[in-house]
Every structure is written in C-alpha cells, then in structure tokens.
C-alpha cells in the first residue's frame, strides 16, 4: 500500500492513520498552514508547526493541538513524519511522510522566494510530490519584491501628497504582514483593519518583528492620521467602514494582478503583483529539485499543469481536493 492515499475526506496515511489538511472532520489531522482551506475546524487532534500554532488557535478556538519544529522527526504508527519550510506564510510547512523507505511530500501552498518574513522554502527529496498549481501557467512570473515595494511606496506617497488615504487590500494572514515589512513607515502612519491587526498581534507575541500599526476601529478619527495607508481585507474595501476615511484610492496586492483584465476588474485604482504562491518558474524548479517522479497536482490550473508535466516526462496526475476555494483565490 502507498504511504499516502486519496480519500473523500482528504489525503490519508494508512500506516500512521492520519490525514493531511483534510476537508472533512477526522480524528487526526496534520496541517500544512493556517489558511482556511487547509486548516479546518472539527478535527479530533491537530499537529502543525510551532510557528503556525498561535494563528491556528486564534482561528479554530479550543483545539487539541500538538506542535513540531521544522525538521523534527515524529514517528506516528508506521510513518516517519517531519515538517519542512514551505515559504508560503510564517509557520507554513511541507509535510514529509516516509513509510518503509517510500517518501512523500505534501507541500500545501508554497513559494520559492524569500519574503523576509516566513522561513524560506527548502526543497525536500522525495519519490512522490503533491504540489499546488494556483499560478500554474507560463504567464505568471513574479517581479522582484523590492520593485513591488517601490511601486507600493511611490503610490502611497502620491496619495499622501494629494491628501488621499491609500487603501491596500490583501489577505489577512501572511500577505498583510509581508506587506508591512515592505512599507516605508517614513511616508506616514499605517492603519490596519481589525482582521489584520489580530493576526499582527499574534505574530508580534510570538516574536515576529513587524512595524508599528494603528488599529482602525470605530473610535478612530481618520483626521488624526493624515497621509495614512490602511491595510484591509478585500471584502472591507469600499465598505461603510472604509468610506468614513474620506477621499481615498484603493490598491490590491495579489498574484492575480499580473493579468490586466483581473487588475481592471478587482484593483480599484492600482494592482500590485505580489503572491505567496510560486510562479511558473518557481513551481517548475521546486518540482525538479524534489527529484520526485510522481507529481500530484492540486488547486489551480490542475489539468493544464499536469498535462505539461506529463509531456516533460513526469508521472503527473490531477488530484481533486477542496483546497483553493473561497477567499484565497482572490487574495492569492
């Protein structure tokens, strides 16, 4: 029997009797990272990295959560299990499972570039590699983070000079904190929506260094913070809460902003191309470096990407999962 199998509840390890990122309630779940489509409620017991744990506790409430450090090896039944950095968001992991010499890696979501916040991605040798393909098309190639930082700061400075508030829409867990490290606090104050500030506080408590932010709650008077940039989840852009800040421009930070059509529909005034997922060259280099022959493609352009890998000589197949649904696709 294979070390990992695919069931209607999720990716399953018979030798260790556990699931990885299951989408139905199971007794034991290993979690790659805290995003909603990977860490769901209702599991009997959870195992995740120590860095991912605080956010998961905040999101899922009272859960039975055990933690492991990157690289620490656990024996679970007949399976040797370890977590390795995926570079996606702080604490995100690829999960390595070894049973009788057969090695699988379930990579969850990942990116190759060092974002300066998450523990950088490390390739893990394996026979079977489960990869995402959110941006699995050759049209996706990310610009340098420093270049995007310059674009965002220029835009912010222009807004500030014109007396406008700069609203930047982004995913609350991971992307928001990465953007915080890229912003130039000399331009003005950084305000945050409550959903983002919660995550900021958790990360600061666990020792992650983030610049100073001000929670933009109901009592805040926008006039007290001229030249501000407001970080908010996409759903809050244009809401009644956002409108009380007066004259504003909105920007949106996501890998989807690489496509002009989506940029024009979603971005409001500006779209910034920055993603916590691997771009096309990133996916290909990650897959090559595993040395795996068998590739399983999950959320994204699965059919196209698997066909390409097959033509390039891999034994690739599409895996039907419930990853990559809801908000993540917009904010990826």
């Amino acid at each position: 029997m294979s070390a990992l199998t695919f069931t209607p509840s999720g990716i399953y390890c018979p030798a260790g009797d556990f699931y990885i990122d299951p989408w139905r309630p199971v007794s034991r779940a290993l979690i790659t990272h805290g995003h909603a489509d990977h860490a769901r409620s209702g599991m009997g017991a959870y195992l995740a990295t120590d860095i991912a744990a605080p956010v998961m506790r905040h999101r899922l409430g009272e859960i039975a959560l055990d933690t492991a450090a990157y690289g620490e090896v656990r024996q679970i039944g007949g399976a040797r299990v370890s977590f390795h950095p995926a570079g996606h968001v702080p604490g995100s992991a690829q999960i390595r499972v070894e049973v009788a010499g057969e090695v699988w890696v379930a990579s969850g979501d990942y990116k190759i570039v060092d974002d300066g916040l998450s523990t950088p991605f490390e390739p893990v040798k394996c026979h079977h590699f489960i990869t995402e393909s959110t941006f699995g098309l050759p049209v996706f190639r990310w610009p340098d983070q420093a270049e995007v930082a310059r674009q965002i700061n220029d835009w912010w400075a222009q807004c500030a000079a014109a007396g406008k508030v700069a609203f930047l829409g982004c995913y609350a867990l991971g992307k928001a904190q990465r953007l915080l490290t890229m912003l130039d606090p000399a331009i003005g104050p950084i305000l945050t929506h409550a959903a983002i500030e919660h995550t900021n506080r958790i990360m600061r408590t666990q020792g992650i260094d983030l610049p100073e932010t001000v929670l933009a709650n109901a009592d805040l008077n926008p006039k007290d913070h001229p030249g501000a940039l407001v970080l908010a989840p996409p759903s809050a852009l244009g809401s009644a809460w956002a409108r009380k800040f007066g004259v504003q421009e909105t920007g949106f930070a996501s890998g989807w902003m690489a496509l002009r059509g989506i940029r024009r529909r979603r971005a409001g005034d500006r779209g910034f191309v920055i993603s916590d997922h691997a771009d096309w060259p990133g996916l290909l280099s990650a897959i090559s470096e595993t040395g795996a022959e068998n590739i399983y493609v999950t959320h994204g352009y699965t059919d196209i990407f698997a066909r390409y890998l097959t033509e390039q000589g891999w034994n690739a197949q599409v895996l039907k999962t419930e990853f990559g649904t809801d908000t993540e696709e917009d904010a990826a």
Partner: protein, 530 residues
C-alpha cells in the same frame, strides 16, 4: 515607447475620465510630432498594415518562451488577450531600448518588404529589448484592437484641451481618410478649416427613464407622446450645400449612410434635424437586426443598401433657416418640422416620426403594450412647452420603456470570463425543457453581482460534468430568470430562436430545476413577439 507606455499605464489604471484626459493632454504637449500623430491614429482605430500573422506571433512566442504551442493556446483564453499573453510568457528582456513609438511603427511598416527570417528576427529583437508593458503595446501595434478605455470622444476632448480648440472641430478633423504616415500635425490639427463650422452638431438632449406609470406628470394634454424607436439616435445637418450625420456618441457617420446624401435635394441649407436612424421597410421601420447589418460598415454593398435602406425618422428641429431653435417650445419646433416633412416626396431619406394621440395616462399605458408590434422599445414623453436642453436632464423628457420579456432557464454550460473576469465563471449557456431534454437556447454573461459570480464559480468547480476546452458542462440544477428585449426565429440555433440582449435578471435559487420554462413557452413568445 517608454513615454507611450507611461501614457498607457496612466489611462489603464484609472477609471476617471478627468485623469485620462489630463494624461492624454500632457502627452500631446510633450511627445514628438510623429508620436502624437501615431497616438491619435492608434486610438482612433488606425494601425500600420499587419506585418506578421497572429499564427506566427503565437509560434514565435511559444518558441522563445520554451513552451509547447498547446500550452500557449491554453493560457491565451485565460489571459483573454493575445498581445498580453505573448508579453507575459516571454522571458525577461536582456537589453533596453530608448526608441519612441514611431520608431517601432516605422520598423513594423518596413517588415512586409523583408524575408520571413528577417521579419522574425526583428520581432524577437524587439521583444528582447522591451519591458512587459512596452511589449504588450508593441504586440498591440501588430494585432490591432487597442481597447484601452480611450474613446474617440475622450481623445478629442484631450486634443481640444492641448490645442485650445473646441471639441466638435477636433472631432471633424479626425474624421475621414487621413494617413498617419503622410499627414503633418499642422495639416491635421492646426490648418484653417472652414468646413468645421458647417459640420458642427448640437449637443443631444437625453431623456431619463420613467420608473413608474406617468400619473404624476400632470394633465396628459401638456405632453406629446411618440414611439421610442430602436435605432441609432442621430442628427442630420444640412448647411452650405453639404450634409453631415452625427450619432449620439458625437461620431460623424456621414459616410456610413450614403442614402442620406439625397436629403440635400429636399432640405434647405441651415437645417438641423434630430431623429432616429432606422432601416426602413415599405411602410414602417424594420427591426433592429436590419440596422445591425449596417452598423460598423464603412462601405456598404449595393445589395445591403436595397435590403436595409436607412432613413432619419425625424422628431425634432434644432435649426431652421440658419437659426438656432432650441429655446423655442417643442410644440413650435414640431409645427415647423411637420410642415417641412409634409413637403418631402415619399422616397426622401427623411420622414416624420409620428406623435401618438391619447387622452389619459391609462389609455397611453394601453398603447404602450403594443410597442413591440410597432418595432419600438416603448414610448417617449415630451412636455410640449419644453426647450431642447443639453445632455441628460430630468423633468421635460422621459422614456417609458417596455418591461423586458423574461423566461426561467436552466444553466447547463459555464465558461470562464475573458480578460477582466478571467478567474470567474461568467459566461453561461441556458436551456429550456423539451420533454425530458434540455435544449440550449441562449448565452448570457451579465446581470449578476460579483459576489454572485464568485458563488456560482465555486459551485461550477464542484459540479463539473465534462470539460471541453474552456467550457464545462455542469449538473442541471440552477434556474435563472433570463430577461431579453426581443425574440426572432433563427434556423441556425438548435432551439430555433434567437434573443436580443439576453441577460441574467435574477438567480432563482428558490426554483427547482423541473419548474424552468419549456421550448413550447419560447415558441409561444416567438408567435406573439417575433
């Protein structure tokens, strides 16, 4: 190319007309004469002769990107634009170029004369020296179709601002057959032009939609009712022995409708008429499909001129004997208009759009229900004492349109949107019941909110039955109310009907799939309204 790319970015990133006009006006101040002329040419739909086929472009792009052609072809519908797909798949440029827009255009214009190998090398060298935005624009110069949110009108306004001249004059100057490779800025924009004054139209007066019955408008006797025609709103100007036809978009369409030239034989100089451009049958307007064949054609084949002759169905008189009548009451203007039209021979390309007699709002509501039979979209109500105002103003003119036709249909295919909706399923095919079968009869892709599109997208992903390229067949489950403006027999369609302006009016989450309408229901509508 850098300056042109900067202009493009400024326009593309903004939805605000003022920002776009300012960016264009600034560009017209700064750019070289050749770049300015080519920019005007490009934004008004002119481009250099195509030097390379899109087939070759795709092949070369896939080759340089090191990907199989099928992968390029699969990515293209997701991106939604060929020029952009090429710009994105290519590896980053290895060199930098300082050349301006007209340099690249001259290079492309020279390409048809060289061998294919040299042509390919020239395109590849260009790709390798331009950043992604510049590459996208370079590709657009080859493929055409610069749809970047700059209308002719917006560009005209920017030019007017940059040159200190007025808009209608600019609009007129940009019409016709000028060649960007030959013309000078002086000749195109600045030289004295006596024809400009003669051609100048009046701004159109536009009506607001009436959202309830007109009972609140006061006594019916103060109002004039007309059919609201389903054509193109137009102004016919006869001055100084010439005639000019303007559309509501202030586009000069004189050459599109050559039959209107005969108006000069019957209508004296110093006359401006407001009315509807329509395809005329023997005694009455033809339906919109007939006019549709004429729209977008710059030259009209003789056969089409006979099948779908265009007239101006006149309903207002703005200038008479060289005098601006717009401040006179409608009733007075109408009286002169009626006299004028009375004297026209039956084959004149101008006819009088009749008024409708009615003595109560209830009676008028009754008349309105017959609008479809009259090839009209509804009624127009105009206050008899009203002057001819400028733009959309509330109070004196109202349009009272028919409610759309509707039918409840089942979604059976879904396709992701193009361009700005590439990651959502937005294009759906709908079917009605025929016994136990579902017969597709229309596509629709608008009418839902973004939130609804996201919701249906998540559902489609989980309920896909089969994939055919970008199209997915889905479990028949969701019922949508499809609204449309007209229905016609169409042997090309499996269902035998074609709808006009179909859109999703409502997502009927309350309706089980069995309760959707049937083909018999559609045929009944065809019988009544077709």
């Amino acid at each position: 190319m850098k300056r042109f790319a900067g202009l493009f970015n400024a326009i593309d990133q903004s939805t605000k007309t003022t920002v776009k006009v300012a960016a264009l006006a600034e560009y017209f101040h700064e750019a070289t004469e050749q770049d300015r002329i080519w920019t005007i040419a490009i934004f008004s739909g002119r481009r250099p002769k195509r030097a390379v086929t899109t087939t070759r472009l795709r092949e070369w792009a896939a080759e340089v990107a090191g990907i199989p052609l099928w992968l390029f072809e699969d990515a293209y519908p997701i991106v939604g634009d060929l020029a952009e797909t090429i710009a994105l798949v290519l590896p980053p440029a290895e060199t930098v170029s300082d050349h301006g827009l007209s340099y690249w255009i001259d290079m492309l214009r020279a390409l048809p004369q060289v061998e294919e190998d040299a042509r390919k090398q020239a395109v590849l060298d260009a790709w390798n020296s331009l950043d992604p935005t510049q590459r996208f624009l370079f590709n657009k110069l080859i493929t055409g179709g610069f749809r970047i949110g700059v209308s002719q009108k917006l560009m005209t306004r920017a030019l007017a601002r940059a040159t200190g001249r007025d808009e209608p004059e600019m609009a007129h100057r940009l019409m016709g057959d000028w060649d960007p490779a030959q013309v000078t800025w002086q000749a195109l924009i600045e030289a004295e032009d006596p024809a400009a004054n003669a051609s100048r139209p009046y701004p159109f007066y536009l009506a607001y939609a009436l959202d309830a019955a007109p009972d609140d408008l006061g006594p019916p006797v103060a109002w004039q009712a007309e059919w609201k025609w389903d054509g193109i709103r137009g102004q016919l100007i006869v001055r100084a022995g010439e005639h000019y036809v303007w559309s509501r978009g202030e586009e000069l369409m004189t050459d599109r409708f050559p039959e209107l030239a005969r108006a000069r034989d019957f209508i004296p100089d110093g006359t401006v008429l407001d009315g509807e451009l329509l395809a005329w049958g023997d005694m009455a307007p033809q339906n919109f499909n007939a006019l549709q064949k004429r729209i977008g054609r710059k030259t009209v084949p003789r056969k089409l001129l006979q099948e779908a002759p265009v007239i101006l169905y006149a309903y207002d008189l703005l200038e008479w004997q060289g005098e601006d009548l717009r401040h006179n009451p409608l009733a007075d203007r109408r009286a002169i208009l009626e006299d004028l039209c009375m004297g026209l021979p039956p084959d004149a390309p101008v006819k009088l759009s009749p008024t409708i007699d009615f003595d109560s709002w209830v009676a008028l509501a009754d008349i309105r229900t017959a609008a479809r039979e009259a090839q009209a979209e509804g009624l127009m109500l105009k206050r008899k004492i009203s002057p001819y105002l400028t733009g959309r103003k509330k109070g004196d003119w109202w349009k009272w349109k028919l409610d759309p036709l509707t039918i409840d249909a089942v979604m059976i295919y879904a396709q992701s949107g193009h361009g700005r909706r590439a990651n959502l399923f937005t294009d759906f095919t709908f079917a009605v019941w025929n016994g136990n079968d579902l017969v597709p009869f229309t596509k629709a892709y608008s009418g839902l909110t973004d939130a609804e599109f996201r919701q249906i997208t998540a559902w489609v992903k989980k309920n896909t039955l089969e994939r055919f390229g970008p199209v997915r067949s889905v479990t028949p489950h969701h019922v949508f109310e499809i609204a449309f403006e007209g229905i016609q027999a169409s042997p090309r369609h499996k269902s035998g009907v074609a709808l006009r302006f179909p859109r999703m009016a409502r997502w009927r989450q309350d309706k089980p799939v069995q309760e959707a309408n049937s083909l018999a229901d559609l045929n009944e509508m065809l019988e009544i309204y077709g």
